[in-house]
């Protein structure tokens, strides 16, 4: 049981070929493009949802920040669809791999911070010292603010990894417990099954919320820096 618990997080390879590339590319198959004015139902639904999300998320930015709209929208679509696909049975979720989440978080955070330092140097440096701090505290506070700045990409990546991985592990464990309890005591198995259903509903919500949170935080770092 111990080995099986983590077997679903191993990177899928087949005959030495990286199958994981195909799995990462699969969500793009579910978002077709079209150049028409009136599209089929799938594309119309996706366009409506995308317009809703982009209006809500990009409205706080100025002109310079709104050039990131394409990047942030594709980010939330990718993370959301990958997380939701990972809830299908036997599937592999790329966002459980810390390597991939770091690969998403570090460039985006670094892009926002470097943009801020290049265009608004004084304001970006001023972020390191909150207003109204007493003079003796200044050195320590600058150090603390620097640490909190550099921990942002790590926190972004680890937050996404830990949430999705923990959810998948809980589903595996409680599902296994339900199966084992069925022959011992059916009532307890029924209660565990209800817990499993509630957990699955929670995981659907978490899948979408985590995508939203990731993108929102990147957008916030951007807003600070444009």
């Amino acid at each position: 049981m111990n080995e099986n618990l983590f077997a679903s997080f191993i990177t899928p390879m087949m005959f030495g070929l990286p199958l994981v590339t195909l799995i990462v590319l699969f969500p793009s198959l579910l978002f077709p493009t079209s150049n028409r004015l009136i599209n089929n139902r799938l594309i119309s639904l996706q366009q409506w949802m995308l317009q809703l999300v982009s209006k809500q998320m990009m409205s706080i930015h100025n002109t310079k920040g709104q050039t990131w709209a394409l990047m942030l929208m594709s980010l939330i679509l990718f993370i959301g669809s990958t997380n939701l696909l990972g809830l299908l049975p036997h599937s592999f979720t790329p966002t459980t791999q810390l390597s991939m989440n770091l690969g998403m978080a570090i460039p985006l955070w670094a892009g926002a911070v470097i943009t801020g330092f290049r265009n608004k140097t004084k304001a970006s440096l001023a972020h390191f010292l909150p207003q109204g701090t007493p003079t003796p505290l200044i050195p320590m506070l600058v150090i603390i603010e620097t640490i909190s700045l550099f921990i942002q990409p790590v926190a972004l990546a680890v937050r996404l990894t830990a949430n999705i991985t923990a959810g998948h592990l809980l589903i595996h464990l409680i599902g296994g417990a339900t199966l084992a309890l069925m022959s011992i005591n059916t009532t307890t198995a029924l209660i565990t099954f209800i817990i499993l259903i509630l957990l699955t509903v929670l995981e659907f919500a978490v899948a979408m919320i985590q995508a939203y949170v990731f993108t929102l935080l990147v957008s916030l770092y951007l807003h600070d820096n444009t």
Binding site: N4, A7, P12, F26, L30, N40, L42, L85, L88, P89
Partner: protein, 93 residues
């Protein structure tokens, strides 16, 4: 009569799969285009065949998306069968 017999013979290469006789099947398969661009073309044709039949219609239903997800689940099951077969409810594995 002789002319109509000559005109109705279609070369093997251009026949569709359902028109190929069973005895000709191995040679038909070997004559297909296995270059990378040929394989890419086959995937592209398959994709558009499915897309235009089930998704790109006026009143597409949930079945168009569900069939893709069901195939995805099935392929993932095949991929992880080697680990899953140890979890069967048997006395001896």
């Amino acid at each position: 009569s002789q002319d109509s017999k000559m005109a109705s013979v279609v070369p093997l290469k251009e026949k569709k799969l359902l028109e190929v006789k069973l005895g000709e099947l191995p040679s038909w398969i070997l004559m297909r285009d296995f270059t990378p661009s040929g394989i890419a073309g086959a995937f592209q044709r398959g994709y558009y065949r499915y897309y235009n039949k089930y998704v790109n219609v006026k009143k597409g239903s949930i079945a168009g998306l569900s069939m893709v997800l069901a195939a995805y689940v099935f392929l993932n099951y095949c991929r992880s069968y080697k680990e899953l077969k140890h979890e069967r409810l048997r006395k001896y594995h």
